[in-house]
């Protein structure tokens, strides 16, 4: 179909992904004890381990490996279901384990080439090979049974963990076939199920582990307890780049339960490395926090000590006129400058968004122990490659000696993609020579300094006499998202940072005026930036969808009609827009003091449109309802898709109304939920989510799809309601 090409992945990796899928590259798993130099050595018969994701024990136990971190995103259910569907076992009752060896080559992210979870890619990029893994295991088990029964494999089928030969009414459990199956050669090809036959994919309404989570039995990183373990809290530098001048720990060491005070050197040599800090290690968190409160640390000056986030917008505006600024073209067509003089109407606008912080409800927490030349981690490790880097860089530990006891985390939203805490805990575990559990307080979490960067967008558009958009320029001033994580991208031929230009490159940007100039202006503030759910989609979509609304009003046109008129070959985009508008009653008469606003975005090969309904009473506006329609292709777990979208809408509401982190004199101002507001139940409007039955062959990503359109939809609705255009978040309702 025509849109397949349009959707070609934005991070230049679809090609690789396609190759991986086409090549049946489910890389056969080498059980421990089998030398890599002898790949043909048979697996020991004790367990059938046909590939990286399937383990069958002789007692019939089936274990499926999920190699992606689950931070509440449901990956342990959805990914297991992809394997289970083809293997013909129940994904809700089968055992799910995390990788025995997290650094097994096959688990590497197919695009990023590191061991990591993120970018809304876990289901969308793993779907094919996980199904193949399940199907391969099933084919081998069928072959084993057929061999035993001396019948054709084609005459056998499977049923919930058993191979069945209907003609002779024989059946063997998978466990009984382990010995034979383990020594069969890998099949050269496998047949995948017809999606019409799916029992689980596309039908999942529940997630694993809910029963344990509602009884307090489910264990998180914070619940890890080991013999002799000490709990560490860290007084980190209040200003980026400041160094410890002196530490007076006398009072701290008097606190009952406090055992050690350890200074941690900053790692400016490491991209994304930790800042300087002083750790207090104690028998428990309460003692450690009391000890930390009594620490007297003198910090050096830092060039960032004069940094003020309010002044950043001025510096960002100056970057627009700076001929030396690094400007990277994200999308270009025609000649916008040639259109300005002849335009019937010109519009210009600046949009701003402030620093934001992730705030997972479980503050970052990780336990590590260094012994016998190795390191072991316990906790939610979203990026095993960073745990490995910490082990190698800080402790000089070999890759083979790095063990991760991976756990579900209490949320991430980007916080667990930072690496500073892994560096800190590796250092502390090495120094303390006992297991160390590093715990962030909420204040530490909010001031960890790897925030979502503040941005400035400048837009200019030309309308002709018919109200058609003839030229559009958008300049997005922002630091590079991943510079600290992906050194060298600027040396790539296109100089492109795909994580900073989300929504404004050819595959994600929906509108096609004849003259187009979408530019990223790289402006680094020296405040480190971190990953944050939906990354640069948030400010980019806010600017694009707000400005499209301004242009529509400038042209005297309906904002929905105006958007549709400027989309070309965007059938899925058009469909979600029209559907959301219809559901929300777009174009119908509204009660007095009520208005609608619309916005849309695409990403992760999925599409969304959001309509916000706002009303005003006693001079105060409120968001009454968010209506949202999603096309994510195949929804592997429809219940999971809905909750990811709901969560995304909630985050978008936060961006619109609350999220704002200030930095004064280099110091983060906010510290806890009293001064950094996040969305509460009482803030939530009515929510209506429709997930369309999308293209059934491919799942798109949804984790980061929901939030970006919310803030512009609300801003657009508020404009319709009040006549006042708001171009900076958080928006004002008063």
């Amino acid at each position: 179909m025509s849109f397949t090409q349009v959707e070609l992945p934005r991070r230049l990796f679809l090609k690789q992904t396609a190759t991986v899928a086409a090549g049946l590259a489910i890389a056969f798993y080498l059980p421990s004890g089998v030398a890599a130099s002898d790949p043909k050595a048979p697996a020991p018969a004790a367990t059938f381990e046909p590939n990286a994701w399937v383990r069958v024990l002789p007692d019939g136990t089936v274990k499926l490996v999920v190699h992606k971190h689950d931070s509440g995103t449901g990956t342990q259910t959805a990914l297991a279901a992809c394997v289970a569907e083809e293997l013909d076992v129940n994904p809700m009752t089968v055992q799910v384990i995390t990788p025995e060896n997290p650094f097994f080559d096959t688990y590497i992210h197919p695009v990023w080439k590191v061991f990591s979870t993120g970018g809304s890619t876990s289901v969308s990029l793993e779907y094919d090979r996980l199904r193949m893994a399940g199907a391969t295991a099933r084919a081998l088990l069928i072959s084993a049974a057929a061999k035993q029964w001396k019948v054709s494999p084609d005459s056998c089928t499977t049923q919930e963990g058993c191979v069945v030969h209907s003609a002779s009414q024989r059946r063997l459990g998978y466990g009984e076939l382990v010995g034979v199956a383990a020594h069969l050669p890998a099949p050269t090809h496998v047949t995948l199920k017809d999606p019409a036959q799916f029992k689980y994919i596309g039908k999942l309404r529940h997630k694993r582990d809910a029963a344990a989570k509602v009884c307090g039995r489910f264990k998180y990183s914070i619940d890890v307890v080991l013999p002799d373990m000490l709990v560490a809290v860290i007084e980190r530098t209040p200003v980026v780049g400041a160094k410890v001048v002196s530490v007076d720990s006398a009072a701290t060491l008097q606190v009952p339960g406090v055992r050690k005070v350890i200074a941690i050197a900053g790692r400016p040599d490491v991209l994304g490395g930790n800042q300087e800090g002083v750790a207090v290690l104690a028998e428990n968190y309460w003692a450690a926090q009391q000890g930390r409160a009594l620490l007297k640390v003198q910090w050096s000056d830092s060039p960032l000590a004069r940094f003020d986030s309010d002044e950043l917008a001025i510096a960002q505006a100056l970057a627009l006129d700076d001929t030396h600024a690094q400007r990277v073209s994200a999308m270009k067509a025609g000649d916008v400058d040639a259109q300005w003089p002849t335009a019937a109407k010109l519009l210009e606008a600046d949009y701003r968004m402030p620093y934001k912080v992730q705030n997972p409800l479980e503050p970052v927490c990780i336990t590590a122990q260094v012994q016998n030349d190795g390191i072991t981690y316990w906790g939610g490790v979203q990026v095993p490659s960073s745990a490995l880097e910490a082990a190698q860089t800080v402790c000089n530990i070999h890759k083979d000696k790095v063990t991760i006891n991976e756990m579900v985390s209490g949320g991430s939203f980007g916080a667990r993609e930072a690496k500073y805490w892994l560096f800190e805990v590796a250092y502390l575990a090495q120094q303390a020579k006992v297991p160390v559990k590093l715990m962030n307080s909420r204040e530490a979490e909010m001031r960890s300094l790897f925030m979502h960067p503040a941005t400035l967008h400048r837009a200019k558009g030309a309308l002709d006499a018919q109200g058609h958009l003839t030229a559009l320029r958008l300049e997005a001033v922002s630091p590079a998202s991943p510079e600290q994580w992906e050194p060298g991208y600027f040396e790539r031929p296109d100089h492109m940072d795909y994580s900073t230009t989300e929504a404004i490159t050819a595959w994600d940007f929906a509108y096609r005026p004849a003259n187009l100039d979408l530019v990223w202006v790289k402006h680094e503030s020296q405040v480190p930036s971190g990953w944050y759910r939906s990354v640069s989609f948030i400010p980019n979509v806010f600017a694009v969808e707000s400005f499209m609304d301004e242009l529509a009003h400038g042209a005297g046109q309906d904002p929905l009609t105006f958007r549709l008129a400027h989309m070309q070959e965007r059938p899925r985009h058009v469909a979600v827009l029209k559907s959301a508008a219809e559901r929300a009653g777009w174009g119908q008469s509204l009660p007095e003091g009520t208005a609608l606003g619309i916005a849309t975005n695409q990403g992760y090969t999925s599409f969304i449109a959001v309509v916000a309904r706002v009303s005003k009473k006693d001079g105060v506006a409120r968001v009454e309802k968010l209506t949202c329609v999603v096309d994510c292709g195949l929804a592997v777990s429809p219940g999971g898709v809905e909750e990811q979208i709901y969560g995304g809408l909630m985050w978008g509401l936060g961006h619109a109304l609350f999220d704002r982190m200030d930095i004064k004199q280099g110091r983060v101002v906010q510290s806890n939920f009293h001064d950094y507001r996040v969305t509460r139940m009482s803030d939530m409007p009515a929510v209506d989510i429709l997930v369309l039955d999308g293209e059934p062959s491919k799942p798109g990503g949804v984790g980061e799809l929901g939030s970006p359109s919310v803030a512009p939809a609300i801003a657009n609705a508020l404009f319709s309601l009040t006549g006042v255009r708001q171009r900076s978040t958080p928006l004002t309702l008063g």
């Binding site: 931070s71 509440g72 995103t73 449901g74 309404r205 529940h206 997630k207 582990d209 809910a210 029963a211 989570k213 509602v214 009884c215 307090g216 039995r217 489910f218 264990k219 998180y220 914070i222 619940d223 307890v225 009952p256 428990n284 968190y285 309460w286 926090q289 705030n359 997972p360 409800l361 479980e362 503050p363 579900v408 985390s409 209490g410 949320g411 939203f413 307080s441 909420r442 219940g639 909750e643 709901y646 969560g647 995304g648 809408l649 909630m650 985050w651 806890n672 939920f673 009293h674 996040v678 509460r680 139940m681 009482s682 939530m684 929510v687």
Partner: protein
């Protein structure tokens, strides 16, 4: 020495500092880790437990203040783990990461304990002190309504 009851069991603390918040006594001394830490300032609700049946934030409550009182944690909500709220939470597939859910359920249980009619308004009033960053508010609302109409635990 501080004496109080936790989940029906009498507990005596001998060496614990009276100013230590109940949260850390529960988690670190009594090994009841179902109650979670989120903010340390009573702002997020992850540490919610019942003090004589009323929802309180245990991170802000010095353990000395609960002397002679009865505490219920998520572990003690139901001996069979079949409290109507727990069943409803599973039926509605509420938990995402699940970290806030002990506190959410304890707040919801306190609401049901009061006998207040379960409406959108009473749910909002009872639950808005409990933060969820994943976005389970919609399903929490449904689950509380489901539990409110469910037969009582046997």
């Amino acid at each position: 020495m501080i004496e109080f009851t936790v989940n029906g069991e009498r507990r005596e603390l001998v060496e614990t500092s009276p100013s230590m918040p109940l949260l850390w006594v529960l988690r670190d001394h009594l090994k009841l880790t179902g109650t979670k830490f989120g903010c340390g300032m009573g702002l997020c609700g992850a540490c919610t437990v019942h003090l004589d049946g009323v929802a309180v934030r245990s991170c802000q409550l010095p353990v000395a203040a609960v002397a002679g009182h009865s505490i219920t944690t998520i572990e003690g909500l139901s001996a069979t783990e079949q409290h109507p709220l727990q069943l409803a939470w599973v039926a509605e597939d509420v938990p995402q990461c699940g970290y806030c859910q002990s506190g959410q359920i304890m707040s919801a249980a306190a609401l049901l304990n009061t006998g207040t009619a379960v409406t959108d308004d009473s749910i909002r009033n009872a639950m808005s002190g409990n933060l969820c960053r994943c976005g389970t508010y919609g399903r929490i609302n449904k689950a509380i309504k489901r539990a409110a109409t469910a037969p009582k635990e046997a």
